[in-house]
């Protein structure tokens, strides 16, 4: 584990600890019924975060790797690794906000499958299946009220 990863881990632990401390601070004046869960979990969270920080700092000094209780991380595929998949997720989110769910779904499926080498018939088929499922189940049967996309407000003004 390199120094950058160690510092990032330390910053992440500090962030989790601060989030718990913030929750405790916000809930300090609430009535017991409302604050009991926040207080109990917040105190545990802050304590565990402090333990983790002290452990991380100790390991940073001794230049040892932090032992985890998980399988080793799978190497990310693709040229850009994590940035690549995050770009797709954030891009899909922005697409939903800007043009709405119904057009965003087939566009995203088409773009993703085509980008990673699927043939045109497969990409178009997948997009059609995704759109049909979303339209059939969520629009026609469940009548989900989709959020108004930004593009509507732009055209209305």
């Amino acid at each position: 584990m390199n120094t950058w990863m160690k510092s990032e881990g330390l910053a992440f632990t500090a962030f989790v600890g601060c989030a718990n401390a913030g929750a405790l601070w916000v809930a300090r004046d609430w009535p017991v019924r409302a604050s009991i869960g926040v207080l109990v979990l917040g105190i545990i969270g802050v304590t565990l975060a402090l333990c983790q920080i002290s452990r991380d700092l100790r390991l940073q000094k001794t230049a040892q790797d932090r032992s985890t209780f998980e399988a080793p991380q799978i190497a990310t595929e693709g040229k850009w690794g994590n940035i690549e998949i995050w770009s797709w997720i954030v891009g899909f989110y922005l697409l939903i906000i800007s043009i709405g769910f119904m057009p965003a779904v087939p566009l995203f499926v088409l773009a993703y499958s085509k980008f990673y080498g699927a043939r045109w018939p497969l990409s178009i088929g997948l997009s059609a299946v995704a759109w049909s499922l979303v339209y059939g189940v969520f629009e026609t049967i469940l009548h989900v009220p989709w959020p108004t996309p930004l593009i509507y407000s732009v055209f209305q003004t």
């Binding site: 985890t68 969520f138 989900v144």
Partner: protein
């Protein structure tokens, strides 16, 4: 329900039972073709999964905020995975958090802090302490083993 509409209650229970049996039968019937999905190329699975994750998140409360919460929790999960934090406790906490808060309040409201001294609770606390100590003990054992190995190498 149980005193005034017993037949309706039993109808609901039987419906659920029969529905579960049918669901198991369908799953067993299609288990082979479903398992072949594992061999499908990732570019045909990932976009569909992402689409249903986003729709699932939105359909729960039908607000934009849920999509934002999805992004935040995705990032949290990503960071936890990156730094070797187990995610199962977080998921368990999200699912059982409501119940935990309710029953904590009920216990506190009914018994004050006396509920902490009850035998069942004490046993659970001991188990909790053991589960917290286990990783530390494991870590300590690993270190000891490493030190012994280093000493043998020298």
């Amino acid at each position: 329900m149980l005193t005034t509409q017993l037949s309706f209650t039993f109808a609901v229970i039987w419906t659920l039972t029969i529905a579960n049996i049918i669901a198991v039968a369908i799953c067993l019937l299609f288990i082979k073709p479903i398992s072949r999905m594992c061999f499908m190329p990732f570019y045909s699975l990932v976009p569909l999964i992402l689409v249903f994750v986003f729709i699932g998140a939105f359909a729960s409360n039908r607000t934009h905020t849920d999509l934002l919460a999805l992004m935040i929790f995705s990032f949290l999960g990503f960071m936890m995975r990156r730094h070797g934090w187990p995610r199962s406790p977080l998921v368990l906490g999200m699912v059982l958090g409501d119940k935990m808060e309710n029953y904590l309040w009920l216990s506190y409201g009914r018994f004050g802090f006396e509920w902490l001294a009850r035998p069942g609770v004490m046993i659970l606390f001991v188990l909790l302490a053991l589960s917290l100590c286990y990783p530390i003990l494991q870590d300590w054992k690993d270190k000891k083993r490493r030190r012994e190995r280093a000493a043998l190498d020298q």
